[in-house]
Symmetry: C2
Subunit: 342 residues, 2 copies
DNA sequence: GATCATTGTCGAAGCGCTTCGATGAAATCG
DNA sequence: CGATTTCATCGAAGCGCTTCGACAATGATC
């Protein structure tokens, strides 16, 4: 393990010159810089992480709290953790994983000991203990997800209400006026994971405002059949369907509708919205308004790094505009009347 | 941020006394210890992580490399990462997440800069680049999974060959002599993820040695139907089935067999072996020889910590003995002849 | 009562880096 | 050409902790 002193020796300059040459924080003559770089390369010099942390008072570590609930969608969870890590690396930060029962203690610990420069909070509930804790820590923190009380917090998330509105608008544009929503399991709603509630709210409001007949169902199994039956009972003329639910439920929707003699997209047009999974492997790919982990995480990490390095406090809540991916699962119910322009 | 000097002041003792009182590395009189502890509590003292790292030359951080492949089972992946983290916390270590393209560079970096005290390698391929790299690093490393060439490496994993043998033995005990295996997707095998190969090997060998008729199928879809059909084509009298495959394939096995007029467990007894998922939510729960993330990870982390703290090099490869969980999906084909003892 | 351990505490030397202020040399200016 | 600014480099002071060696004070030993 070569130290900076070894490099200084090898290059025939002082320690501070090596530091400045490698960091670029002060001007150094090209010839000296070259000597230093050559020496560093020759010795395979890598600055000692903790020495650097201590001296610079910056760990270049971001803690990520990702608790695992019984109903956690592991795949989505993983995606977010990975995306945070990738984004962090682009800023030369590493990520510390804080799980589970250790979430609160871990946040506390990594902040109090200066282990982490900042914290990313994943899988946020409406009433999340971590929100209260976050207000007491002077450490920069960004939530990916939105708790009910965002006072004093910095949050980033997909605009789920806008996503619900966009889904309804697309179905209305296609002439659909009997629109159902399959939401998440009751279990998830009860835990008050917040985004399904925001989606529900956006759906209800926009459906009412636009005078469409709507119904909402909550799956009870890991498939769509029960929810589809419930929807059809309430809305026999169902011709539009929005899915803000889990992958297994969404995957079986086409089959469930078929059992009732309904085909996709002609009889019922379907949009998956605010979901992390991709539908292109489904028996029939569905139009999707994705909950894009990469988008949320990179925005969140950018913000966090800015807070850490520049001491800025960004706007309290940043909502990410929904995007639409077309797979052909929405078609006009009156194709001959309203010709598709564009 | 109170420092150790503040605590020393408050308690009226020297800095080194505080350090020894809190670490217990030298004997300190009870009265002094109490004073120090009171002062530390009063000031909310937490040792500064990087200062401690630098002075003690130990980061108390374990790096975890968990690359994400196209065919990665996110759920299993997450489980392992979480379990490593949990086990690490029990030894007072935190875990750094190294993903993806960053796996090799990250191992390199965290070792060279002393960012991590040790490394856990997950999701190991037969010919894994990380194995070669590991041999060049002086940093303690434990593989969870077994590459083809284990020379100089420390590896921990479920004994997949023994798991295959155990599955066959149980089916033989139940009088089953036409035993099929549904393995993983070709894609997974081609990537040379190593454990399916070891399972296959154990299965073939033990089936041959015990004179049972056997057949092996590789699923092509995310369901079992094609594989079951292939198995029945080769082995029309199929009466035992071993599943070393993905959750979606295993979940649909009962239905796939039913389409051929075969019931579980009477016509065909089924065992899921070497799998991370639980089958108790399946339409019909299956006997399971689990690939227990907790078991593997806690053994691996214990070893790694021992290597870090005591400098010991444990045995090259540690195979974890399989266990059997009974859900009633295996019954005797000749119940009246071989009464169930016990 | 002198000798030898033992125990509890302290001071100081780092750990390897960053960064501030100082300094001499070279360049710029009136 | 002396005064002033700019540039490149260096020395030294930390960052907050651990740990080694020293050293009184106390207790045990004969």
């Amino acid at each position: 393990m070569a130290t900076i002193a070894d490099v200084a020796n090898e290059a025939g300059v002082s320690i501070s010159t090596v530091s400045y040459a490698l960091s670029g924080k002060r001007s150094i003559s090209p010839s000296t810089r070259d000597k230093v770089e050559a020496a560093a390369t020759k010795l395979g010099y890598r600055p000692h992480a903790s020495a650097r942390m201590l001296a610079a008072n910056r760990s270049h570590i971001i803690a990520v709290t990702a608790p695992l609930h019984a109903d956690t969608d592991h795949s989505a969870h993983m995606q977010f953790a990975m995306e945070v890590t990738q984004s962090a690396r682009e800023h030369d930060y590493d990520t510390l994983l804080l799980v589970h029962n250790d979430a609160l203690e871990g946040m506390q610990r990594s902040a109090a000991t200066s282990l982490a420069d900042g914290i990313i909070v994943l899988d946020v509930d409406a009433h999340d203990d971590r929100a209260a804790l976050a207000r007491t820590l002077k450490c920069p923190i960004v939530f990916i997800g939105i708790p009910e009380d965002t006072d004093g917090l910095v949050c980033v998330d997909l605009d789920f209400e806008a996503a619900a509105e966009l889904a309804i608008d697309r179905l209305i544009d296609a002439g659909r006026t009997n629109i159902g929503l399959i939401s998440h399991h009751q279990e998830t709603l009860e835990r008050e994971s917040n985004f399904p509630l925001r989606f529900l709210h956006g759906f209800r409001k926009h459906a009412t405002e636009n005078g469409v007949d709507s119904a909402i169902a909550y799956p009870t199994e890991h498939r769509a059949h029960e929810a589809v039956a419930a929807l059809l009972a309430e809305l026999p003329d169902l011709d539009g369907l929005v899915l803000n639910t889990s992958a297994d439920v969404a995957a079986s929707v086409t089959a469930a509708l078929a059992e009732h003699g309904k085909s996709v997209p002609v009889d019922v047009s379907v949009i998956a919205a605010g979901v992390t999974f991709s539908t292109h492997r489904f028996p029939l790919a569905l139009d999707t308004i994705p909950l894009d982990a990469h988008a949320s995480c990179s925005v969140a990490v950018d913000m966090l790094v800015e807070m850490v390095e520049d001491g800025l406090k960004p706007p309290a809540t940043t909502l990410i505009a929904p995007t639409y991916i077309n797979f052909g699962s929405v078609t006009s119910s009156t194709a001959s009347v309203i010709p598709q322009v564009n």
